[in-house]
């Protein structure tokens, strides 16, 4: 068991808590780089999708997990990023320009929904973002001249310095690099005054404002950053699916992103990775056991969304800190093995949360 003695405030700001972190994350990085040589095409493709969802999840985690703004229209940003990438690539732009362009356009959309919703509290915001997501989905469906509607839009294969980025391996490496970059950006945001301000806004908007935090500005920036990250994920998503159809960016996808945040563990960047693994691997797990299930259970069309719903409900009722919280708990149990106390992680109840008086 390692005990950290903090001797200065700088220690609190470090990304790596201790040298062991660098060792373990470095080893993990090497393994991930080597994986395409070890695993088959199918698994690499699935892992690439996990990374893409994790990038979007990091954006939503900043917004929902750290700033406390629920977004039920997150799939809209992914859709905007995906279509921007596909349309610009078709127009002949280089990949290194379409990626930032996708992020930028999504960020503009984020500001566009962020500014009018500044004064809204939790529930109103949830409804407004839900409506925003539906409007974007309708636009993607009906704006035939750009998105080709339900005929779909094929995504060209991009090149970086003459190397074509194609197949599962190409998407895997691009997504891995961008995921690391996004995680690094998010970790750095969280240790700056900006990140601290976001957490303050989440915990109490009134007290944040009275501490001199410009709530409106920070909320808007949070929306822009989250949308930009998700737009980037959208660009990669376009590469991953190769063929865009407007109905893939619906409410169910937004709920999947929120599942990443909630099941992974709200308010932790590690949780995003666990959540993304859960959301992407659950359908695969269902596919594996589908034929072994008794009767017709495995072939019911509503099985997958209902399992997402069920896990969401069970997480909120019984494990509100998500997978990451469970991991912390398990670690603590082993660390103080004979002296473990159940009350260490008891859920706190708050009764006074009201928006009225």
């Amino acid at each position: 068991m390692r005990t950290l003695f903090k001797t200065g405030y700088r220690q609190d700001l470090r990304i790596w808590r201790h040298p062991g972190d660098i060792l373990w994350y470095g080893l993990l990085g090497l393994v991930l780089l080597a994986l395409p040589r070890l695993l088959g095409e199918f698994y690499i493709g699935e892992l690439g999708a996990v990374y893409i969802f994790a990038i979007a999840g990091v954006g939503l985690m900043l917004l929902t997990g750290y700033t406390g703004l629920v977004n039920l229209g997150h799939a809209a940003f992914l859709g905007i990023g995906a279509y921007t990438n596909a349309v610009l690539l078709t127009a002949g732009w280089p990949y290194l320009l379409t990626l930032p362009a996708s992020a930028l356009l999504a960020a503009i959309a984020g500001v566009a929904i962020g500014i009018p919703t500044l004064r809204m509290s939790g529930l109103y915001l949830a409804i407004a973002t839900l409506a925003f997501g539906q409007i974007v989905a309708s636009v993607l469906e009906k704006w035939d001249s750009v998105t080709h509607g339900f005929n779909g839009l094929p995504v060209p294969i991009p090149e970086i310095f003459g190397f074509p980025i194609q197949g599962a391996t190409g998407v895997y490496y691009t997504a891995l690099v961008l995921l690391v970059a996004v995680l690094w950006i998010a970790a750095n945001i969280l240790r700056t005054p900006f990140g601290r301000a976001l957490v303050a806004i989440r915990d109490s908007e009134v007290s944040a404002r009275s501490m001199g935090i410009n709530v409106a500005l920070y909320k808007t920036i949070a929306f822009a950053v989250a949308a930009a990250m998700t737009g980037l994920a959208g660009a990669l998503f376009a590469q991953y699916v190769n063929f865009l159809a407007p109905d893939s960016f619906d409410v169910l996808l937004s709920v999947q992103f929120l599942t990443i945040v909630f099941v992974g563990g709200i308010g932790s960047l590690q949780g995003v990775i666990y959540g993304a693994l859960f959301v992407r691997l659950l359908p695969q797990g269902i596919a594996l056991v589908r034929d072994d299930l008794p009767g017709h259970i495995g072939h019911l069309p509503g099985l997958e969304p209902s399992l997402f719903g069920l896990f969401l409900v069970l997480t909120i009722l019984f494990q509100p800190t998500g997978i990451y919280g469970g991991w912390l708990r398990a670690k603590a149990w082993f660390q103080d093995f004979p002296l473990h106390r159940a009350s260490g992680f008891r859920r706190q109840r708050t009764y006074a949360r009201s928006e009225r008086t």
Partner: protein, 293 residues
């Protein structure tokens, strides 16, 4: 047919559709006023009510009125149990926990309904199907009239209940100030569960009124999203506001479908919703109070 008649017909049909939105929105508002929770599964509760009515009337072969009454009671009981078993556990958790919880419940309800009743649309005969009244050139369907009439009747009953009965006044008290209601000896928890029951029952009525116009199917819960627009337009704390908002949305949708290019009808409710939130966040019948620190 002249333009004026055409317009009148659009308005009557819109008002009928809007009454359904209004009734679902009424469900949101009742729960929101009492517990500051929004039930994102309200539309799916309505869907369950529709299927309950279908089972009683078609499978058990009951009379339409008996089957409808039983379906409303079943849905109300379901709402009561939903609060007692699930929702009550998350009181005191952050609000988005409840949002996610009810969203998740909605997905589960949809899947359960798909397993129990299948994914095909179903319908049953009502006394209002395929009957019309003619005033000269102007044709009105019994179905639209029954929706409007049923909504007005239900609202009158609810109004009398909330203003004239002991239980209704107790509910108002619990909505206004929980703590004071506790001190007066009102069983606030039970009252909240009963409000969930009324809200579910109202959406059950909405499902039954809707049946002559559109079939019952698993995805009819998505009407709930449009009902948000009605509730927000009405100010989210106001019961008459929810109904007026619903009627406005319904008429706006019909007019958009007729006068604007295809595709605008689907987004009308959402555009009205966003516009209301941006321009007039307190809605038409404001009931919101700014939080005091």
């Amino acid at each position: 047919m002249t333009d004026a008649l055409r317009l009148l017909e659009l308005i009557v049909n819109g008002a009928a559709g809007g009454c359904i939105y209004g009734l679902i929105a009424l469900g949101f508002v009742l729960i929101y006023k009492a517990t500051e929770v929004i039930n994102f599964a309200q539309g799916d509760v309505m869907m369950l009510g529709g299927f309950a009515a279908f089972s009683f009337i078609t499978w058990l072969g009951l009379n339409y009125w008996v089957g409808a009454a039983l379906a409303v009671l079943t849905t109300a009981a379901f709402g009561y149990l939903l609060d007692v078993i699930v929702i009550r556990r998350v009181i005191g958790q952050p609000q988005f926990a409840v949002v996610m919880l009810t969203l998740g419940l909605g997905f589960i309800f949809r899947a359960v309904a798909g397993i129990a009743w299948g994914y095909d649309s179903v319908g049953y005969d009502t006394p209002f199907t395929n009957h019309t009244i003619k005033f000269g050139n102007f044709v009105l369907g019994y179905d639209s009239l029954s929706i409007i009439g049923g909504t007005v009747l239900l609202c009158a009953v609810l109004y009398l209940f909330f203003s004239r009965t002991r239980l209704g006044v107790a509910m108002q008290a619990a909505s206004q100030n929980q703590l004071a209601a506790y001190y007066m000896g009102i069983p606030v928890r039970t009252i909240f569960s009963l409000i969930w029951a009324i809200s579910a029952g109202v959406s059950g009525v909405a499902a039954i009124l809707l049946t002559p116009v559109s079939m019952v199917d698993v995805n009819m819960g998505f009407l709930g999203i449009k009902a948000f627009a009605a509730a927000v337009l009405g100010g989210f704390g106001s019961i008459p506001g929810a109904l007026v908002g619903g009627v406005v949305i319904g008429i706006a949708e019909q007019l958009a479908g007729f006068y604007l290019p295809a595709g605008f009808q689907d987004v009308t409710a959402n555009v009205v919703l966003l516009a209301t939130l941006i321009l007039m966040p307190h809605g038409l019948f404001s009931q919101r109070i700014v939080k005091r620190v």
